[in-house]
Amino acid sequence: MGGALDVSRRGVIGGGAAAVAAAGIGGDEAEGQTPEPAVLMPVSMTVNGRPVSLRIDPRTSLLDALREHLKLTGSKKGCDHGQCGACTVLVGGRRINSCLSLAVMHEGDEVTTIEGLGTPEKLHPMQAAFVKHDAYQCGYCTPGQICSAVGVLREIAAGVPSHVAGDLDDRPRVSVDEMRERMSGNICRCGAYSNIIDAMTEVSRA
């Protein structure tokens, strides 16, 4: 128990340098600030082709706006910190971590979630390929993987380079290395990666 780091007794959460050190372990927000009274802000966007208008707490992430306010629970919360990719949606056709983005930042945006890609009766080709290749197990990261996979193939087609590009001036081509690199922000703890790449490869060739 180092003396300089002995932050026992009063006020671990109260203030002071030592308290900040301890709070930083467990907390994910600044301590000791009284929140403002609830203020709601208006925001309008298009979600899966449907215009929506919300009055929403400005602290609400796009992910929570989708899941809790619009009840589109296909986008998942795995970490709320942009570390797992389960919340991946397409905004203006590009993939983002919806947990790292506040809903009120998306005025006028076009958002596509997993529910906007296909339905069980009419699967999007990427969704069908995931079923065929068993590219999931528990299913919790799956909507994010699929949105990301759709975004990745678009990015490669649009010539967006990646870390594994041999030459930034060359047009990237669909390859397992390119797909693995670009998909690495989407964690699958069940470990379906090998099958996900098989599913993406099939869709890329269609």
């Binding site: 128990m1 109260g14 296909g74 069980p120």
Partner: protein
């Protein structure tokens, strides 16, 4: 139905549906995001409020007082529950640390309060306004420092892995001392987090004194029991619903604080409350796989036969907790006349240690199978041949006890052939591919097979639909699908006409999902229910039950054929229970892992280039979903070997890298194409399904295969997992 004689021929043997690699029946729901997980049930009960759990900022000590004034007056706050107003709580027997702390604090981030508010943002903000006055006590957080006080304990993981405090067969010390070739090595494995993608989450709703919980749980019946014990309410008043589980790996075998805190919050708020743990809370509020310090002593004669094998392991847990049963497999995997295992437990004040996928074998095999590789090298023997030579067909501690099925040799031989093992250069550091040093590694895979009583209800509706109801869970394992296949095979209908309803405590009690027993046991329960219904249908039709056949939607007997739809609505419920077949013969699952790894000759970066697993694990109910189980386990094994480590901050007594940015699990770029081969096997000793488990087998040994491949690539043997760059770079061969 009681299973106390080896299975004879039965309808499953037709393998028209069972054993086929069909797509998951829940797949379309999952890929469209409409399979409902616990936190997402907007549909089940109105007026849900949001809860946010505050965890303890100290690892050990007491809460002197709470200052709730600011939190209570924060916008939207409905209720706050701490130990001061929670009412009397119990501690479930299956759980080591209380799910709600206070005034005593048992571990860092133990739940000490829940704030209920109108919105998630309000609950989260208000929780940060709670001021806690702690009296911090000294704790023991350092496993290495606690080893001198560790004591031998006998324990079972409850998941097929068990070991006595100490057992010795023959004269281990003398045989080890006398033997001409030996290794005496210490391996360590770190604390690990399950890191399942869906953090624990619960919606709790009270209706009078009746509590309904929509939660994420692997073992529904245990959850009902533990809720009853925690809240001190009768079991009959508790309903648990968990149809979809976003990964478990052992983290959801038992209820966690989300369940208790949601129930307490809902009681205080007088409305339904939903709670999800944060990712950070998964690391310190919930359980983890504990670190181990293991010593392996293995000795052989010059012909390669093992004459002495000893395995000691020490891990830590809170007072009243249990050890990681890392020595278990060493009792069964290899022959050898002189043997000893010793398992010790130290008291630590870290969060609760508990089961994570393949508890015991996962870290135990990482040490054993790497030490075996070291001994093979000392002997100058090929590591495949060394393992083949030391195979045993009987329990080495009880030679009269045979293995029901054991084809480890077949796994090794087929794997070696398929992987191109003959091309391996036994001398490390010799093979180059550009900047990469390339090597191959092998390890045995071993995991015991457990059978658990399991029940189900089957109904036919007169319109051709067969409905199965059981409280079994599908945690990604494919339960929905293999249960549908079993029902389809038994009732003679296509899978598309089977409806499977899972994860509800109003359904018959099943085996649940754990210990790789779920697939075999739950389908065996469905088999029993279907067998009973078949008898009832046959009786109703006046058929002779012994020659009746259910196929193509027809019931046939003695030249007569009647559509199943003609029998109208009928149902049956049964539970398959087990006699002592599992005691008379040792039931285990086997495999061989082959890995090719590259080590960057300059930087020491490690890349896994190829992976193959060959498994002999009884009948494979669905090769597609079973393969996914195995590749997923291989992936988790790569994580355990090369990156995963929950780092203990011994000052504060917590896992400091408590998120997915700092606790690294494998991502796409870390995992190559993976191959799996299942050997043809059916084990009539296991159940009427003749199946066993593969979900944990795939993890057991793969880490050592990676480690052995890294060693073969670069010649550096790291005995302190995970094998990271800084541990190997100094030992790399000089670059010309």
């Amino acid at each position: 139905m009681r299973f106390d004689q080896p299975a004879g021929t039965n309808p499953i043997d037709r393998m028209k549906v069972v054993g086929q690699p069909i797509d998951r029946i829940d797949g379309p729901l999952k890929v469209c995001g409409v399979a409902p997980y616990a936190y997402e049930r907007h549909d089940v009960v109105p007026n849900q409020a949001y809860g946010f759990i505050l965890g303890s900022a100290i690892a050990k000590g007491r809460i002197r007082s709470f200052d709730l004034a600011d939190a209570k007056s924060a916008p939207g706050v409905i209720a706050i529950v701490t130990h001061e107003n929670a009412g009397k709580l119990g501690k479930p027997k299956a759980i080591t640390a209380n799910l709600m702390g206070g005034p005593e604090v048992e571990h860092f981030d133990q739940a000490i309060a829940i704030v209920v508010a109108e919105t998630f943002e309000q609950a989260r903000a208000a929780a940060k306004l709670i001021r806690v006055d702690y009296a911090r006590a000294q704790g023991q957080f350092d496993l290495r420092a606690a080893i001198p006080s560790a004591k031998p304990v006998s324990d079972s993981s409850g998941e097929g892995s068990a070991s006595p405090g100490r057992i010795e067969i023959g004269d281990f010390d003398a045989a080890f001392a006398r033997a001409p070739v030996k290794v005496d090595v210490e391996y360590t494995t770190p604390d690990e987090s399950h890191a399942m993608m869906e953090p624990q989450a619960t919606i709790a709703a009270w209706d009078g004194d009746e509590l309904t919980l929509w939660t994420s749980n692997q073992m529904i019946n245990w959850a009902v029991r533990d809720v009853s014990q925690a809240l001190l309410i009768p079991r009959e008043k508790v309903r648990v619903i968990s149809p979809y589980v976003g990964g478990g790996f052992g983290s959801k075998l038992w209820i966690r604080s989300d369940v208790v805190m949601a129930a307490l919050g809902a009681r205080a708020a007088k409305r339904p409350v939903k709670v999800a743990l944060t990712r950070q809370q998964v690391f310190n509020n919930t359980t983890h796989r504990p670190a181990t310090v293991q010593r392996l002593r293995i000795a052989a004669n010059k012909d390669g036969r093992i004459v002495a094998i000893g395995h000691e392991s020490t891990s830590g847990d809170l007072p009243g907790g249990g050890p990681e049963t890392a020595t278990s497999q060493t009792r069964l995997l290899y022959a050898g006349a002189n043997r000893m295992v010793e398992m010790k437990l130290a008291v630590l004040d870290l969060p609760e240690a508990n089961a994570m996928r393949a508890p015991g074998e996962a870290p135990g095999m990482m040490a054993l199978e790497a030490a075996v590789d070291e001994l093979a090298e000392e002997l100058g023997m090929d590591p495949v041949e060394f393992r083949v030579l030391n195979d045993t067909q009987v329990d080495p501690e009880h030679p009269e006890r045979r293995f029901s099925e054991r084809n480890l040799i077949g796994c090794l031989r087929q794997g070696a052939e398929r992987f191109g093992w003959a091309k391996r250069n036994p001398k490390p550091g010799q093979v180059r591919d550009g900047r990469w040093l390339v090597g191959m590694g092998v390890a045995a895979a071993f995991r015991n097979n457990l059978t658990m009583r399991s029940g189900a209800r089957v109904a036919v509706d007169g319109r051709g639909i067969v409905t199965i109801s059981t409280d079994m869970t599908d945690i990604g394992t494919g339960s929905y699908t293999v249960i549908a296949q079993t029902a389809a095979e038994m009732m003679g209908v296509p899978v598309s006409q089977v409806v499977v309803r899972l994860g509800d405590s109003t359904f018959p009690v099943s085996s649940g999902s754990g210990g790789q027993w779920g697939g075999n046991s739950a389908t065996a329960g469905v088999y029993a229910a279907c067998a009973k219904l078949r008898d009832q249908v046959a009786a109703k039709l006046g058929f002779n039950a012994t020659d009746v056949e259910f196929a193509d939607g027809q019931v046939r007997s003695g030249g007569r054929s009647v559509p199943l739809t003609d029998v109208g609505e009928m149902s049956a419920e049964d539970t398959l229970t087990y006699g002592d077949l599992g005691k008379k013969q040792q039931q285990s699952t086997f495999g061989a892992h082959f890995v090719e790894a590259g080590v960057d000759a300059l930087t020491g970066e490690i890349r896994v280039r190829r992976m193959l697993a060959v498994c002999a694990a009884g009948r494979i109910l669905n090769p597609k979903t079973a393969r996914s189980q195995v590749i997923g386990a291989m992936t988790m094994g790569v994580g355990a070997t090369l990156m995963e480590e929950a780092v203990v901050d011994t000052r504060f007594g917590c896992f400091i890298n408590h998120d997915l940015a700092e606790y690294h699990v494998p991502v796409h770029a870390d995992i190559p194409h993976q191959e799996v081969i299942f050997l043809d096997e059916a084990d009539p000793q296991s159940s009427p399904m003749k199946a066993k488990g593969v979900g944990e087998l795939g993890l057991c040994g793969v880490g050592a295969a990676v480690a052995n491949a890294v060693y073969n690539a670069c010649g550096v043997r790291v005995r302190e997992y995970p094998i990271t760059v800084e541990k190997i770079i100094a030992g790399l061969p000089r670059v010309a």
